[in-house]
């Protein structure tokens, strides 16, 4: 068969032998693409009318455009060979992946959602799979599910049965039944016609098998298997399978079709609800060698590749991870993670070859620091909060406002700025954290006053040259600096105005909203104050007012261009009382002369009735060339510029209120694994490999296509 041409496909190599026939890799000479070509066994053919039926059904199935369905491109017959041309899917079957031990519940859910989504699409089009089984489900290396052979089972006949079926001689009507015995619904065994609900039974079997590593109904012979399907209940699934997942499987496996879910979309919704309920546990001790954690899994995940740009979006109701290719014009959305929890701080940690994303979560159940090493597919959820005030302080953690990875050559050091205002440090990669007493015991601390957002230490800047020098900013306390690694701190607010104090230039107590430092020129800092924009060129010894010509010097974020130390970005708002874009016109202001003058950047931003607010951490720059600038608004819109602010486009709308935006570029290591680099790292790869298949996105969020 190798070298033979069927239709316009040249057969390249045999891939395998399936139930229906031989599967080959082939090359479509017309469309110039690799395809899979399935040649139906001659012995399996039915009479001419049945063959026509197969052709008809396969053509109907070819209309199923869905990311989780293996697309059928063509069905044809030439020189007596009946063949099916389909999308070439590379990966492992779910059967291979499951083995005897099963797969973790979060994987069952992740794959189950995709399988149910595929079934929902097919059922909507009136197509029943009829032979759904673990061997017919392929998982690509990116974790994308592809369901094979939609709609092909019915017309092909009994020969597609796997070996258990072949021993299934006790039912004389077997020849008129299609499917694979261990996945067959009871009503099929009783001779009824397959319908949507028999597909849902098979889905229940697939989910059970994936979770348990064994089939729910087993037997030494076909008779025993069919007897078990008709009469027995499957052995219950227990920890670590969440009870809610077991409940979904049980309902799929109800003996009576009427007692099952009636539609695949119902199963999809139920599985998504289990994911959202964050009820999946895995013990990651063995995987990470770290503390015992519980991983929480959410609904959608962005599929991240080498060379991708990432955006981390923290909102008042959860977090999102967005990915794009080097062009940064279209973004796939992962999330929402941490449903209903506020995420005020996110950060990358690309040091030492890792690609860890950190996030802080705040909810009625407390504030926790979480991390993921797989771009959001699983997050730590520690039994005990690692960041906690010592008993003697009498204080309780309210929120984590800032997460800052330490020096590059100390990859286990990180800092967190928290509310009530304090600085925490870890030296073991986040397992244990300690309060930096030098700052906590500062005599000024009792006189710091909470700002509108609480008394928060919201900014941490590490001097890349002098590792003993760290800056923090506190609302309202001002800027503090240590020159000895944190043992002692001094207020550095000379020249910064405090409009709300009787003494307008106090030593401390300023409501500093944000400070930014240039990595290549660390003595230079920019500062956005509660009224006032400032620059320091002497490590914050003194500050100069640089609000020259901007419509308002009130604002929150300030951002430095990653390579030009004279370039900074701010987003002014009208006033303290009316914290919205001036005149309802959304404008970013940029200086390219260290604050001597500012220019508005508004092309592509709404200029009428846009009373938007951008909070202090909701703006970020990447380190690609040209630099990308991104910001999110309180109203849930996300804007981006991939030309340093010259033009803007809306990336998303409909998000919860955005409170944090961070960016990074993903880079692979020499061994081919993927790691991320922090946004301010230098020498980022600007791989222009085209984006791979889009992952599913959150439906409630409108992704904005560029015109």
């Amino acid at each position: 068969m190798i070298g033979q041409t069927l239709g316009h496909c040249r057969v390249l190599a045999k891939i395998g032998e399936g139930g229906m026939g031989t599967v080959c890799r082939a090359y479509d000479e017309v469309l110039h693409r690799d395809v899979a070509l399935k040649v139906v066994k001659k012995s399996d053919r039915l009479d001419p009318s049945a063959s026509q039926g197969l052709l008809h059904e396969a053509r109907a199935s070819s209309s199923l455009a869905h990311p989780n369905i293996c697309t059928i491109h063509e069905v044809g017959e030439t020189e007596g060979e009946l063949y099916i041309v389909m999308e070439l899917v590379e990966g492992k079957s779910l059967r291979e992946m499951t083995g005897d031990a099963g797969i973790p519940p979060e994987s069952v859910l992740r794959y189950g959602v995709q399988i149910a989504s595929a079934l929902a699409r097919a059922h909507d089009r009136g197509i029943i799979h009829r032979d759904l089984k673990a061997a017919n489900i392929v998982i690509t290396p990116e974790g994308l599910v592809k369901v094979l052979d939609f709609g092909l089972a019915k017309k092909v006949g009994s020969a597609i049965f796997d070996s258990p079926t072949r021993s299934f001689a006790t039912l004389e009507e077997a020849s008129s039944v299609s499917g694979t015995l261990p996945y067959m619904a009871p009503e099929i065994l009783r001779g009824a016609a397959a319908d949507y609900r028999s597909d849902l039974w098979a889905l229940g079997v697939v989910l059970y098998e994936a979770a348990a590593g064994r089939l729910p109904f087993e037997g030494r012979t076909g008779f025993e298997v069919s007897s078990a399907i008709l009469r027995e209940m499957p052995a219950p699934l227990s920890f670590p399978v969440p009870p809610a997942l077991w409940g979904v499987i049980q309902r799929c496996l109800a003996k009576e079709p009427m007692q099952r879910y009636q539609r695949a979309s119902e199963v999809l919704a139920a599985l998504e609800a289990v994911q959202s309920a964050a009820t999946v546990f895995i013990d990651q001790i063995a995987e990470r060698g770290g503390p015992r954690t519980v991983a929480v899994h959410s609904v959608r995940h962005a599929s991240v590749k080498k060379g991708d740009s990432l955006l981390l979006i923290g909102t008042t109701k959860g977090a999102f991870i967005l990915r794009s290719n080097a062009q940064r014009s279209r973004w796939d959305v992962g999330g929402p993670y941490f449903h209903g929890h506020s995420v005020y701080a996110m950060a990358y940690d690309g040091r030492a070859g890792q690609h860890r994303i950190w996030a802080s979560t705040q909810s009625p159940w407390g504030t926790l620091l979480r991390s993921t090493d797989d771009f959001g597919k699983s997050w730590t959820n520690p039994q005990q909060a690692a960041i906690r005030f010592p008993l003697d302080t009498g204080m309780s953690l309210k929120n984590i406002w800032q997460i800052t990875p330490g020096p590059t050559d100390e990859p286990t050091v990180l800092y967190c700025g928290v509310e009530p205002a304090a600085l925490f440090e870890t030296r073991d990669g986040g397992e244990t954290w300690s309060l930096i007493r030098g700052l906590f015991d500062h005599p000024h601390r009792p006189r710091w006053m909470p700002g509108n957002g609480g008394l928060a230490l919201h900014t941490i800047l590490l001097d890349p040259v002098n590792k003993q020098r760290i800056y923090v900013a506190i609302s309202s306390g001002g800027v503090y600096r240590t020159e000895d690694g944190g043992s002692s701190w001094t207020a550095q607010n000379r020249g910064i105005r405090a409009t709300f104090m009787p003494n307008k230039y106090p030593e401390f107590g300023q409501c500093v909203h944000k400070i930014a430092m240039h990595p290549a020129r660390p003595e230079r800092l920019f500062l956005q104050n509660h009224w006032g924009v400032y620059r320091s060129d002497n490590c914050a010894e003194s500050w100069t007012d640089i609000a020259n010509g901007i419509p308002s010097d009130f604002g929150f974020p300030v951002l430095m261009h990653p390579s030009n130390p004279d370039c900074a970005y701010i987003i002014p708002v009208e006033s303290d009382e009316f914290r919205c874009a001036c005149d309802g016109r959304m404008r970013v202001y940029r200086t390219r002369n260290a604050g001597a003058s500012w220019e508005p950047l508004s092309r592509g931003l709404p200029q009428k009735g846009a009373y938007e607010t951008v909070v202090r951490d909701a703006m970020a720059a990447d380190s690609s060339d040209p630099v990308g600038i991104y910001f999110g608004t309180r109203s849930g819109q996300l804007f981006g510029s991939n030309d340093e602010g010259k033009t803007w486009h809306k990336i998303l709308e409909g998000l919860p209120s955005v409170v944090c935006v961070r960016s990074a570029v993903v880079e692979g290591t020499s061994d081919g694994s993927v790691r991320t680099l922090p946004e301010k790292s230098r020498g980022i790869s600007s791989s222009k490999k085209s984006a791979t298949k889009r992952s599913a996105t959150t439906r409630k969020i409108r992704r904005i296509k560029r015109g």
Binding site: P242, T279, V294, P364, W365, G366, N381, Q384, A385
Partner: protein, 97 residues
């Protein structure tokens, strides 16, 4: 006595929505200590590091919110049922001894 565990915390109680404590604690505080001895992950979700019940978490003995029955010193009887419920809003902190 029995604890009713809300959905958000069941990941820390092996999925159980009810947890039976095979002891006879005298107060809610003692009962909570027994609960998080059994399931340590629950502790930081209910209480702050200073031992206060979190501001937006309510604890009921039967149908009574312990905010109005003596806080964590609220006595409990054999067979009492304690519910842990996130508050809709507000609420003052309660000190755990």
């Amino acid at each position: 006595m029995t604890f009713h565990i809300p959905g958000a915390l069941r990941q820390f109680t092996s999925g159980h929505s009810k947890v039976e404590i095979d002891q006879s604690p005298d107060t809610v505080a003692d009962a909570l200590l027994a609960l998080w001895t059994l399931y340590p992950g629950v502790r930081d979700r209910i209480a702050t590091e200073q031992g206060q019940v979190r501001e937006h978490i309510n604890i009921f003995v039967g149908e009574e919110n312990i905010r109005y029955t003596g806080g964590l010193a609220t006595p409990i009887q054999r067979g009492s049922e304690i519910s842990i419920v996130p508050a809709i809003s507000g609420g003052r902190e309660i000190l755990i001894k």
